[in-house]
Each structure stands twice: as structure tokens, then as C-alpha cells.
Symmetry: C2
Subunit: 448 residues, 2 copies
């Protein structure tokens, strides 16, 4: 029945069925990136992998690329887990009855229908939980209360996100009934930040949620006044393993070396709470606009391939599918780069090139300098989806954005279009045009 | 059955039953106001009139006043409507399916169980709706999309709040099925601001909701692209008319003229979405701390009466009950003043005194000047609850707070303790001490 269901879903929702949906043609102007973000977030909105919004976004991207004059446009299907958020409720039962603002972490199981009632054991970090004894944790709700600080590079994210990604496994291993984390985020607003968590097949699956920063502070105060405070968590998420999603790919064909691919990417999926304007509508708009505007200048020498990855949020599912499907072609990927860090101004240019290509990197940076972009090192990340290609030897660059405020909005309902500054996005677009133009019209092998 | 139910509720929840609940004694320090806000918002949290939180807050206030050494503490019961928020959901059905962030307006009826499906007619103000013809509005959802700007005095609130207060009546009169307003608030965060709305017995009651500012912008974009967009609203609020609530009153008895009352007030109830830290936990903490710290200095000559009003948010219900119950005593109210505009620094001192008391007002302002407080006029508002007494001839003052950010948080889930700046609250407390001390130790008749 499940397979039949999926076939039916596929028949109903395969993008081809939508191929003739009219798209409002957008002018090829410096505002194009913003107009694409506006269109995607307004007409599609939330688009978690496997959902109707995901399918609508694939249709949207395909139609827009055609409308923008891309030479080739196609989709590449992959199978993906599809996680659906249900109702969620977290209450202090005693001694200070009140509700806390929470969100299920992506991938979390639900609770039994009548919920989980338990006392709480609080830790100030994942490391403190790992050092705990089972008798401290058994049958309790684990609360990891670690705050995150801001900086331009978002460097604290990696130090905090472990509690979200694997806290449920570590808590369950010690006998906990559920996991609550303080949101991985930097805002004092009362939004809970979702994000992917994972289970270990050898450890019982317990429900995992995040509460907002003000709620984490509130819960800490409650526990200080009443260490035996009792909480109730009720949640009913669902997950299927074999949904269908797609990477959407569009090309501007190279005039001289069409087999050499300059890949510029972003991810098309978003979390379900917001409309994914910063994460990653901005990136989608930027790379689509870059390719379309460069075609308007005249066909580049190399092929510019825009890859809009599916299901980045669920763990680079589309990126792995792309790498697998294009394995034989990767040596022809002369460069890959991704925009996926919001919509702040680009302030640094980083590469991961072979040594003999570094003077070329310097040339690009000199063209970027008037935009306020400084030179970075040769250890670029490239972007989350593109990191899969980097690991396979593809040269990458990062046009590094100012991420000071990114984690205020990241994975919350508050990730909406109004958080995108059109002027900052235009600066991004100018940088992407310079970088992509330079590489697409060069003959240089960046691996060497 | 309803009356039996209420008697039972009264028996179960009358404050006397809680009178021996232990309270953690707070030190009489300059941090007392903040510590009281912290205690109220943590231990009670949301406290809409008629709710269990309301009853807990009455118990909390009574116990705290006793613990702080007030000479007399009592409660005054009144009957009040009790409005309970249910589930609410607002979806764009076609052509861009997505959910919008909404909140029911306080007092709104729900929808039929299967919701209301309709197209939308948008107006840029209540005035524009009032100028509309029935054929524009009939069977549609009215959307009033008016933004609010910020200033220190919060002067735009009065110009925008009409859509919330009476928009549902005006829309229903023209045949609308429901009302959506852009939140009355100044934040770009995705919170919907609730607040009281009213019906007219002669006009059908239609459901009324607010959407957040980003959602209002989103809906406007959707309607621009698709004027025939269809929405679905589902909501199930409940209201009973005869719940019980209380004003809580505590006094520091005057040593020389105990029958002369200096009333300093705030409101104890809050909306249900946040913990009511700014609205009006801060005010509650300030006036309680003022009285307690002044008693520590030695008994004042006049009686200082702290009135913590019940159900301000539902329309000054406690304030009217107080005025009715104390009608014969109002001539002995030498002054009334309320703190209910958040927790920003006080920047201006305003009075509503008789002409011969104005030199005394000037003396008070001179004492306040080192705190950065300038002189205002003699047309003070006094505060929402206290305005009822002002209308009956009681002299009032306003220690006017900086409200620049107040409407970012007002009536949202985001009204939480972390939004209270302890240093600003301490400046408030110093000003309240100066003003209250001066009036309580004076023999002047401020009416003359």
C-alpha cells in the first residue's frame, strides 16, 4: 500500500504536470535576485522536503528558469525521508502552571498520546550531559540550556548545534524520557528554532524539542525555585522514509567549453516554520539571477550550471544524490560554490584552489574589493551542499556573508521576506556576477 | 448549572484558601521592583481575567504584600467576563497555500467548526472600510492593513487601535464574514498582537483576528498577485460573562492623616500570550516596591494605597468596580497614578492638579530632574485604570515612560521578563519613590 501510495503521489505531483503553469516574467535587472526571493517566499512559502510546498517549489524553480531564458532546465528525482510536524505542547504542570514556547526538532518522534510527565534535569552543555551518571538522568526530561553568542562568521553555531543534532541519543542512552534544548539561535525573541536531529538505531528514540531563549531562561528560573517542577510534553510528529523530491538544475551553455561546468548552488527546500527567505530563498534568488544576468551579457565560455538542491535541511540528501548521479562528470566541474548563509553583505572571498590558481583568486578578489570584500584564505567551506563536492575534489569558493543576525531568524517562523535587505542582496548579486563571470570565461584549471 | 458551577469555582479558588501559601521574602532593596516582576512572571506567568492564572496572581499579590510589611492587605471581588482563547488557524487555500501567523482578538467569537472560507477585501485603514459600500464587502473577509510607527510617547497607538476595537462591528455591518487586522504593534517580528475588541448587540458578531506585520505584508503581496485568493479561518474561542476576579489592595497607613489616600496603581491581569512582564508586571513591581520601601523609611503622613487592578485588559473592569465601591471615599483620594506603559526610563513628569498646587508639582519635578526627567504639562493622563478616577475629579500624575519599544512586545507572546531592563526599572523606582514620598508627606490639597 505504501508503494502504491507513493506511485500515486508521484503521478499527482510530478513537476511535469505543472509545466505549463504561467510564471510572471521578471525583468533582467539588478533587483532580480530580490524579486525571485519575493516570488518564491510569497507564491510557495514553506517547503520542507517531501511536502506539497516542496513540490510547488520545484515547479516554481523550473518555470522561473525557463522564463529567465536558461538554455537547459531539468529536475533530478531522489528518494527522501518526509518529516511532518504535528501538534506540540509543553507545559509546566507544577508548581507554576504555564505553557512554554517550543518547536519539535526535525526528525523527532512524537510522544505517547497522553504525553510524557516528568521532572527535569538541567545541563549547561552537551558535554555536561555526557559526563552525567544514569541515576541523574533516568526517567527525567533532560534540559540542555546552552546559549549561543553572535559573530559575523556564525562561528558559535558549530559549538552549540551538537545538543540539537545528537542530544536525544545521548540523553536516551542515560535513560531520559525526552530532550529539551535551548534553541540554537541568537535572538531574545520568543521563537523556538527547529533543525535536524538524528537517532542511533541502537538507542531508544525519545522526543526532542527546542524552546525559545526566553523560555529557556524561564524554565531555568522555575527549576531554581522548584527543582522538582513537573513538566508535560505532548507531540505527534510523523515520518515516512520514501517520499520523492527533486534537485532542480538549469544551465547557461558554454560557448567554447560547454562540458566544463561552473556550478553555483543554493538549496530550494526550507524548514516548515517560516517562508525560508534567508534560508535559503536569498541563495536561490542569487544564483538564479547570476546565471540569467550573465546570459544576458552573452554566452559564457564555460557552462554555468545552477543547482537548486532539494532537502539540504534534512541532511544534504539532494546534495548526495547529485554527487552520486554526476560522479563521472565531477572532473569536469571546474568550480562549485553555494549561497546559504542568509542575505547579509558579502565581506570576504575565500577559495579552495590548487596553488597555481591562487593568482587568479587574487585577481577575482581585486575585482570584488570595491564592494567591500576582503581577501580570505584558501580553506573555503564552499557551502553545505557543495561541501559534498569539495570532499570529492571539486574546487570551491565562498563569498562569505555577514551572518551577525542570521541566527536570530534561522529555522524560526520569523525567517520571512522582510528580513532580506534589498540593498545587501544587490551587493551579493554583484559579487556573484563578478566571481561567476571570471571563472566561466577563464580557461584555468582551478585544481592545479 | 452555570451559577452552581460558579459557586463551586468560587469555593475552590477564593484567595482565602491560598492565604498560607509561603512566599519567598524579598529584601527591601533598590532591586525590589525587578525582583517582584521576576517573581510574578515566573511563578504566575499569564493571567487573563477569570483564569486560573488570574486567581494565582491575586494570591501572589496578597502574599507578597503581607510579606513586604504592608499594614493592610485585602481583595475586592468583582464579576467579569472570562474570555478563553481556543485553537486558531488561518490559511491561504488558493492559489498559494500556506498558513499565516494569527491571534484571536480578545473577546472574539469563534468560527463555525468547519471554518469560514472566503475571498478578501483589503482596506488601508478603518476609515477606508467605513467609506466602503456593502457590495464590496458582503460575504468577504475584511483585511485592514494599517501599519503603526514608533515614538517615545506611543502616540500612534490611538490612531491605529480603532481597527482592532471596532473593526469587526463596522465590517459586519457591511456584510463581512470575518475581520483580519494587521497587528497593532511596531515590530517586524512574526508575532501577532492580541487586544480587546468589542461587539455591538445590534450587529452580527463576526470573528476577529490579528496577523503579524510580516504576515500582513505577505497577505498584501498575495492579494496583489491573486486578488481572488481564498482564505480559510478556523477558531474556537469561548466566553462566559460571570466569572469572578479581584482587585488586590495594600496600604501603608498614614501616621498623621490616615484617611487621606495616595493611590498608586498598576494592573495585575495580563493577556494570555506572554507572561505580562512589560504589561503590566513592571508596573505591579514598581508600585508594590514603592510602598514597601517608603514604609521602611518610616510611616508616611498620608496613607499610601497600592491598588493592583484586575481585568484592565478586558476594558477597565476592575477600575470601574473600584470606583463604584469607593465612590464615597473618592474625595479623600488626594492623588492617583498608575504605571502601565512598560519598563522604559521615565523621561517626563506630568500632572493634573489645581492651579494652586502647581508650584508643588514644580518642586517634585525638580527632585526628579537628576533622573533625567523633564517637566510636562498639567494635562496628565494618569494611566488607564486611574483615568476612571480622574474622570471623577481625583488629581493624577503621570511618570511618563519611554515607550519607543513598548509596542514591539505589547500583547504578544514576546512580552517576557528578559525585555525588562533592570537599570531602567530602578530609575523608575527612584522616581516613584520621590513622587510618592512628596505627596504622602505633604498636607497640600492637589485639587485646588
Amino acid at each position: 500500500m505504501k508503494n502504491l501510495h507513493n506511485l500515486l503521489m508521484l503521478a499527482l505531483f510530478t513537476p511535469a504536470l505543472y509545466a505549463n503553469t504561467p510564471v510572471q516574467p521578471l525583468p533582467l535587472s539588478p533587483q532580480l535576485a530580490y524579486q525571485l526571493v519575493e516570488s518564491l517566499t510569497t507564491e510557495v512559502g514553506p517547503r520542507i522536503a517531501g511536502s506539497p510546498g516542496d513540490r510547488a517549489s520545484v515547479q516554481w524553480a523550473t518555470s522561473q528558469m525557463k522564463s529567465l531564458g536558461f538554455d537547459k532546465v531539468w529536475t533530478e528525482e531522489f528518494v527522501t525521508p518526509y518529516w511532518q510536524r504535528g501538534q506540540a505542547r509543553l507545559e509546566v504542570l507544577t508548581p507554576f502552571p504555564q505553557s512554554l514556547v517550543l518547536t519539535a526538532l526535525g526528525g523527532s518522534v512524537g510522544t505517547p498520546a497522553n504525553g510524557i510527565d516528568a521532572t527535569v534535569v538541567q545541563f549547561d552543555s552537551l558535554e555536561a550531559l555526557l559526563a552525567a551518571k544514569p541515576e541523574q538522568v533516568k526517567d527525567k526530561i533532560v534540559f540542555i540550556n546552552k546559549a549561543m553568542t553572535k559573530d559575523r562568521a556564525g562561528s558559535q553555531y558549530g559549538k552549540v548545534v551538537g545538543a540539537r543534532a545528537k542530544g536525544a541519543v545521548d540523553a536516551a542512552r542515560l535513560g531520559a524520557k525526552a530532550l529539551i534544548i535551548r534553541s540554537v539561535g541568537t535572538s531574545a525573541n520568543r521563537f523556538a528554532h527547529t533543525g535536524k536531529m538524528s537517532y542511533d538505531p541502537a538507542v531508544p528514540k525519545i522526543p526532542a524539542v527546542a524552546i525559545s531563549a526566553p523560555d529557556a531562561q524561564q524554565l531555568a528560573r522555575i527549576l531554581q525555585k522548584a527543582p522538582e517542577a513537573k513538566l508535560k510534553l505532548q507531540m505527534d510528529n510523523q515520518q515516512t522514509e520514501d517520499a520523492i523530491s527533486h534537485n532542480v538544475i538549469g544551465e547557461i551553455t558554454g560557448s567554447e567549453r560547454p562540458d566544463e561546468i561552473v556550478l553555483i548552488g543554493a538549496h530550494l527546500d526550507s524548514w516548515d516554520q517560516g517562508t525560508g527567505a534567508l534560508d535559503d530563498g536569498a541563495g536561490v534568488g542569487l544564483v538564479m539571477a547570476t546565471a540569467a544576468l550573465l546570459k544576458k551579457e552573452g554566452q559564457p565560455k564555460r557552462t554555468i550550471r545552477v543547482v537548486l538542491y532539494g532537502n539540504e535541511e534534512g541532511g544534504l540528501v539532494g546534495a548526495r544524490a547529485y554527487a552520486a548521479r554526476h560522479a563521472k562528470e565531477l572532473s569536469k566541474h571546474v568550480l562549485a560554490s553555494e549561497s546559504d548563509f542568509g542575505a547579509g553583505r558579502i565581506w570576504r572571498f575565500e577559495t579552495r584552489f590548487g596553488a597555481s590558481a591562487l593568482p587568479f583568486a587574487k585577481q577575482i578578489q581585486q575585482q570584488l574589493a570595491p564592494l567591500g570584500i576582503e581577501a580570505g584564505g584558501n580553506d573555503a567551506f564552499g557551502g553545505p551542499d557543495v561541501s559534498v563536492l569539495k570532499a570529492l575534489g571539486v574546487p570551491v569558493v565562498t563569498l562569505e556573508q555577514d551572518g551577525t543576525d542570521y541566527f536570530d531568524y534561522h529555522h524560526t517562523p520569523n525567517d520571512t521576506l522582510d528580513k532580506v535587505d534589498p540593498a545587501a542582496l544587490e551587493q551579493n548579486l554583484q559579487a556573484w556576477l563578478i566571481m561567476t563571470r571570471a571563472v566561466a570565461n577563464s580557461a584555468l584549471d582551478l585544481r592545479k
